[in-house]
Symmetry: C2
Subunit: 314 residues, 2 copies
Amino acid sequence: MCTKCDYTIHSHHHHFGWDNSIEPAGRIAPGTTVEFECVDSSGGQLTAKSTAADIATLSFDKINPVTGPIFVDGAEPGDALKITIEEFKPSGFGWTANIPGFGLLADDFKDPALNIWSYDKGSMEPALFGKNARVPLKAFAGTIGNALAEPGLHSVVPPRRVGGNLDIRDLSAGTVLYLPVEVAGALFSVGDTHAAQGDGEVCGTAIESPMNAVLTFELEKQANLAMPRFTTPGPVTRHLDAKGYEVTTGVGADLMAGAKAAVSQMVDLLAGRYNIAPVEAYMLCSVCGDLRISEIVDMPNWVVSFYFPRCVFE
Amino acid sequence: MCTKCDYTIHSHHHHFGWDNSIEPAGRIAPGTTVEFECVDSSGGQLTAKSTAADIATLSFDKINPVTGPIFVDGAEPGDALKITIEEFKPSGFGWTANIPGFGLLADDFKDPALNIWSYDKGSMEPALFGKNARVPLKAFAGTIGNALAEPGLHSVVPPRRVGGNLDIRDLSAGTVLYLPVEVAGALFSVGDTHAAQGDGEVCGTAIESPMNAVLTFELEKQANLAMPRFTTPGPVTRHLDAKGYEVTTGVGADLMAGAKAAVSQMVDLLAGRYNIAPVEAYMLCSVCGDLRISEIVDMPNWVVSFYFPRCVFE
């Protein structure tokens, strides 16, 4: 039960893809706090008993449901929807998968793989991966957005200027997010909750985990935001950084190639040093390693770096 | 004077560009600690009395000198040169410039601009910018690398797999860097020292500051590294993160366009909120804001985020 909420949107009010003709699941005034029950990004297809074989038979029609939409009174195109991310209520269950055809290194990792996570939803202590890796947790919503002005059904996979599948690791409790509004009422939905993810989400999935999200909505009239922006109330990586980082780099004229090179070298480093399968190292990179652009000005070569937190193995 | 060093390479031993035929300034055995006197990246053309007018007349033949090269006994192609970054000895003087034609937003910022910094080289307390911005400092070497196998003179501007102008903010004291060796002796040089920089170095310059660098060299035989990698001994952003971040995003199918969009929006946000010129906001972004890739897998749109530390104004 939510103690601070004015409203709960239950998980059966979920939809697949964005479509501004979907009937609102609720209507609220600015200032309202709402709890959303979020289904995991497999839409419940994966459970604690699933195996890699279940990845091959996933129905993509049921991928990435979002709970909503809610209609915010007074929201008009040109406004920004201000969302204060109050709290997440994690479930303790999660999964991370390598899904063939999806992920930064899809050309190198063509076979399905699945890791089932069990974490302490009360303490949110680092979660065990394999025999001796421990991944720090920070819950957030991977998909959080408003409906598009353009009519029709739009895939939930790509994020857009109104938000959506942003997969920004720091959209966690305490952060204030501003999203452009393109339709009357904003028609906000949220889902794809994650217990942990690194910047990049490099294998294509995080610690995918059903959980409730508690959010407060306000409006900034005629903010005319071009893209989403947000404010974090404090540090964003202190759960990861205490023991420093191992860092690999990709140097070259293309940022995408640089990102692939940096992650690929980290996969090799972790697999070799810790005697784990390359696909395990790849999934581990996705849930806690960070892609950063170290320099983007020294023509014609840029440097993309991949930071893996040493605390995971030390 | 260096108390831990076996050797000092004085600043007159600097060269412009990389060329494996340059006579070594010194020859050392693995295990040796060396102090390098590094000239600033203008090669001394800019001083505390310089103005924006001096940017227009900079001689690019004298840009980015590096001190060295040193020949490391036993280093052979295929080895990695292991460099322990022991210490920097900052000078207290620095500059940041917008140089026309250079920088991520070169199309938007076509006029030269210059900020002269004076910082406390003993305390390394945050340095004042304008009336009320204070930028946390962390000294590092922007250019650090080995000679290329390919004969001839190569521009110092682009970084390469042997290192060079990497401009990686975390190559600071305590970090251990591994660089591929392509020629006998490695022929290592260092320069382009910075008192502070954000990930991206978005305006093209950091707090450019002459200082000495103390480095210890070892070899990892036949490491066969593809690209530079490094290990940090602890957290890398705690000098910046205490009050959280303002974050702007660029959402779209091209990482470079996303980076430009994110930085451009942060320039607008800072200039509007703090009543500073856009070019001042741009230079400020370069010395302390970080470019991160939030997600690179949600086809076909990626999210590049620009993190500006709130401590600078709060």
